[in-house]
Symmetry: C2
Subunit: 389 residues, 2 copies
Amino acid sequence: MGAAIAESRRAVGNSGVNPPVGCVLVTAGGQLLASGHTGIEGVPHAEAAALASLDDMGLSAIRGGTAYVTLEPCAHLGKTPPCADALIAAGVARLVVAIKDPDTRVNGAGMQRIAAAGIEVCLGVKADEAYDVMRGFINKIQYNKPLCSLKIAASIDGKIALADGKKRWLTGPGMRRYVHLLRSQADAIITGIGTVLADNPQMNCRIAGLEDFSPPVFVFDRFLRIPSDAALFQSQHPVTLFCGAGAPADRRDQLSAAGCVIVVLPDDANGKPDVEAALRYLGDIGVNNVLVEAGTGLVTSFLAADAVDHIYWTQSDHILGSDALPAIGVLMSPTSSPPPHGTVTDRSAINTVAIFVENKYIQSHHQVIGNDRLTILRKQPVNSGEAQA
Amino acid sequence: MGAAIAESRRAVGNSGVNPPVGCVLVTAGGQLLASGHTGIEGVPHAEAAALASLDDMGLSAIRGGTAYVTLEPCAHLGKTPPCADALIAAGVARLVVAIKDPDTRVNGAGMQRIAAAGIEVCLGVKADEAYDVMRGFINKIQYNKPLCSLKIAASIDGKIALADGKKRWLTGPGMRRYVHLLRSQADAIITGIGTVLADNPQMNCRIAGLEDFSPPVFVFDRFLRIPSDAALFQSQHPVTLFCGAGAPADRRDQLSAAGCVIVVLPDDANGKPDVEAALRYLGDIGVNNVLVEAGTGLVTSFLAADAVDHIYWTQSDHILGSDALPAIGVLMSPTSSPPPHGTVTDRSAINTVAIFVENKYIQSHHQVIGNDRLTILRKQPVNSGEAQA
């Protein structure tokens, strides 16, 4: 199952609306015969990919062997024939599954069909690890929105740029490559018009060999201010613009004609971008994992809306001082009104949320990359524990 | 020499005006006979401590053996007799030294005296490591001020407390113990009156067995506002107050009578505490290593004055938001005027310094302690290299 999970990781961010699944086929004698993972846009399924590679080897069946699959095989006809039937036809004697498919069209039916064919079925092997690889997909099934990861690139004192907004690459080349890898593992990237106007980023994956895995980009751009020659449009991947109802009609027409998808989102109660509405839209179109790379405003909106599951905090050695631009702005309750710019009227409400937020994320991984540091923070389940002693 | 350097580390922060030195004595056959390090307040010297432990074992000499010392033995009569003579008398056949003593009273004279007695002298073994342990002492000799280390305890976004100044322990118990160890290795601690009034800290080392190694505390307190019942005064170690010329005379008298040392410092050109004057004072009284633990204002003054050699940046997982108190304030040139509060008049001057400062420190060590992270940054020698590529 370890090998099947390793296979499944290769599909993260590239399995379309499908989950990233891995499958390995082993003979009765324990010899590894073939492996496969979910293909681009979900085709083929992992089991079909493994069985196809068996065919390539001149073998047509694994009579008496075992199939290890990270997710229950499907039992319904979708874009591909049911994998349950394919495994039965291949003569598998035993099926080992990490987790049951929560998709209502499967949800145990695949394992039942296989067991009914007289095949031994074993469920729950390395379930936690398999779950971790597929948590974007499962999140989408459970909450109808993708798993939301936030990337921050900051100085050691939590700043992202000098006070004049002057663009700087704070982290070094190794860490920037890591961020490109992160992009290749996302199904979508979210950014804001502020970042587009300030930095004109490409927001793609520029690691050699992974260029084709750059995900589509979604831009919060209420008034459709994005320039027609923005670097984002140079990528082969589609750009979707989240605008407000007040966006100029002529810009909508121009940008639609140029191939952009335009999605009108309601503003939230505070006149801020409705982060939840955007995530629901992404869930509806089948996005499993989204990566947010944005400036202070949009990042703070995501945190204040409690919409972030994982934070990838990358940090350099720089010290920029308190007049530089902060990675995180003022955190306040999404239901309370924001104070007028430059004043703080309801300090207690803000602090309540700050205290809440500050206990919400804890380190799940940490490493040094080049001269920079990566800390991955994960949101804790509600009521998972007290603040530190 | 590795063993001698390990010995020398035991004396850091506890060798008084003397350098922390280590010494091991080895027989002609290579057997380790004895070891020693500089004692409390510099007495005994490391060589004398090692020779005394030889006596304890009933041996009076190491005829034909080798002495490894991290710093050249002294040749002059100070608080103790010259170590060079003691090593000659003990019958050492070979002396191995890591670095020459830069103290003008020694500076090669110790090795000359030993070589003149027909003993083989070898200089430069593990010089970098030995230098590292003694860099406070060497800094004091070179610049007439101690090596200045700054400790920061911040959230991942660089904040030290909530906006209302509410005190919180951001880092966990393991990291706080590490900070107590740092204190035990300092010869002095500097803090500010703001920290004393907000937190009423003890600023001592509370690790079991190291309580006696709490260093004396020096407080920047321009108007002598420190309460007579401050927790600082509960420690057995002396408290020195750096005040301005305008401090009330009656407070000076009261605090002097209560056992405080009062030192009047000039304000600098910006009406800020004169950080350099304080460090020169500490150098004059023989402090090798000072640790700064203070709030935003004093920390920023030390950085802006370019007075910090090492930064011990400890970081928790908390996210406090941009309205929380920053670890580092606005960095500006020590020679330029500060802008009026709330306005920024000379943005370009500030940015110049920010860019300067941001390339000044780079990571020399990093580790995870509990759920927190420690990054040790060291100031780079001037013109040591370019900013990142």
